[in-house]
């Protein structure tokens, strides 16, 4: 099957959605499909896998409490149209088309068997509410929609109407399960780990650092291993900042620690980091967010702590550090949960969505012949109701 995937955010900036697209692409390729990805790329010198086509650079826009990097402009539109016409795809799969991104641009410019995955959980997105009418006309072109979590599905139902099938995020279980610890790790004195952007408030590193200060009052040798891009000031001693790391090193990080902390304060639709920790066999302490609670089976596969509360987080971590039995129990429970998120299984479900969408169309994906059809629903209200 010839599959065209559209990534909304820059390929060279780490993020959950881009990682999802890359893992999906590589899993589909391993299954024998012919896959092409189009993505924005900010760094012109970065080398890309052979299956990636550059769509141009992005413009940073503040969106929903963090900075989104979006792609616009005639250059990107031309490249997308060429990619669609040359790709001759049986199916096109957009990611996060509800944002003003490359995915929406691709949707404007194509018709045929098109499906989309919605990643975001924005219970009160003003931007979505504002864009709903013009977006709706474009989204009507989708043959099918996928939500990666119940929260993402609820966002679709509330803001866009309609529904979606639920297919969770995936994780390459064996890559994490078989990784070696980093040289010199794990430490005798015990170590906590954090993975994510260090300067993104909703990832919660600040809460974890406060908890770490509480913990080191009684455990002066305890270590904190932090992997993720961004700048952070004023870290206590015993904190190792690795900065942005490769996937291989990230897998090693999970295997180098005794407890993985996910102190996120919100904005999480899913929690891929939890799957990675579970795949690595590392016990988890996570904020009691709906998305995390669901992946962790209400705490059966990970310890939950009050959101944004450093004391609660420190208490939960210390409980695990003091109990090897509890750690082993959580690691085993996590290992059982994560098998259903293994990429080959997840990608097989996605291919069923492709088959269903293809069955709804004759022929593959083609360029939209007409100029972009920006439906203006407000016109109905502006125009008088003629008798």
């Amino acid at each position: 099957m010839k599959i065209g995937l559209v990534a909304p955010y820059p390929w060279d900036v780490p993020g959950g959605v881009v990682q999802h697209v890359r893992d999906l692409a590589e899993t589909l390729i391993a299954m024998g499909h012919d896959v092409s990805v189009i993505a924005p790329v900010d760094d012109e010198d970065v080398s890309l896998p052979g299956y990636v086509t550059r769509a141009g650079r992005t413009v940073p826009i503040p969106f929903n409490g963090s900075v989104s990097r979006l792609v616009f402009g005639p250059v990107s539109a031309t490249r997308v149209r060429r990619w669609i016409s040359e790709g001759d795809f049986d199916v096109m799969h957009l990611h996060s088309p509800e944002t003003l991104s490359l995915s929406l641009l691709a949707l404007f410019n194509a018709r045929g068997p098109i499906v989309a995955t919605f990643h975001a959980a924005n219970p009160r997105s003003r931007v979505l509410a504002m864009l709903q009418s013009p977006l709706q006309v474009q989204l009507e072109k989708l043959a099918g929609r996928i939500a990666v979590s119940p929260a993402a599905r609820k966002t679709i139902v509330d803001h866009l109407g309609g529904d979606a099938v639920l297919i969770p995020n995936g994780v390459h279980v064996h890559r994490f399960a078989s990784a070696d610890p980093l040289p010199g790790w794990p430490r005798e004195s015990g170590a906590i780990g954090f993975v994510g952007r260090v300067d993104e408030p909703r990832k919660g590193l600040a809460v974890l650092l406060d908890a770490f200060r509480l913990l080191t009052a009684t455990r002066p040798e305890l270590q904190l291993l932090v992997a993720g891009p961004g700048d952070v000031d004023d870290v206590p001693p015993n904190v190792t900042l690795l900065g942005q790391v490769s996937d291989e090193v990230k897998a090693q990080v999970y295997r180098s620690i005794d407890v993985f902390a996910a102190p996120n304060t919100g904005g999480e639709s899913f929690g891929i980091i939890l799957l990675e920790a579970m795949a690595a066999g590392t016990p988890i302490v996570a904020s009691d967010l709906d998305a995390f609670r669901r992946v962790l089976g209400d705490g059966a596969a990970g310890q939950l702590a009050t959101v944004g509360d450093a004391e609660s987080l420190a208490y939960a971590i210390s409980t695990l550090l003091d109990s090897p039995q509890r750690r082993a129990q959580l690691a085993a429970a996590g290992g059982a949960v994560v098998t259903r998120y293994d990429w080959p299984r997840v990608a097989t479900e996605v291919v069923h969505v492709y088959d269903t969408a293809i069955a709804m169309h004759t022929g593959g994906v083609v360029e939209e012949a007409e100029p972009p059809d920006l439906g203006n629903d407000d016109l109905e209200d502006a125009a008088p109701d003629l008798p």
């Binding site: 006309v137 309609g162 069923h352 269903t356 969408a357 709804m360 016109l379 125009a383 109701d385």
Partner: protein
Amino acid sequence: MDVVLAIVGVLAVLHVSYATWTARRLDRLHARVDSATAALDAQLRARAHLALAASERAAAGSGRELGDAARAALSVAGLGHDREAAESGLSRALQAAVRDDAGIADSALVDVTTRTSFARRFRNDAVRDALVVRERRIVRWFHLAGSARLPTFFEMDDTALDRRTIEV
């Protein structure tokens, strides 16, 4: 007076072009419902045929019930309430047969139950999108839907067979 006439004229042109655009949008939505309906019908038929084949592998009791349910589903055409009942009955018979003997569910049967639930979800989405536009005043007052029938949702128990229970 000329100014008033000009304004009325401009508004009339805007209104007509909006009506034309809405009519084209509605055409596309109806076409999507039709193709999604055909896709769902094909999946349901494939599921019934695979269930019929599985019934011959099943233990006597649940196998006979599964075969009856599959034949009942195959005997109904269209996507009306009678089809909803027959297909829901087939879903229940499948679940019962697999509970008796997980071995009857091969991967083709598991896959078709997954695709059936996807096809139904996508079709109901298409129906909903079409209904939203058809409820608009401009569509009702100017009969922009023409003679196209009002599409209806297809409701059934489409719980897919669980891949995990099959593999273990």
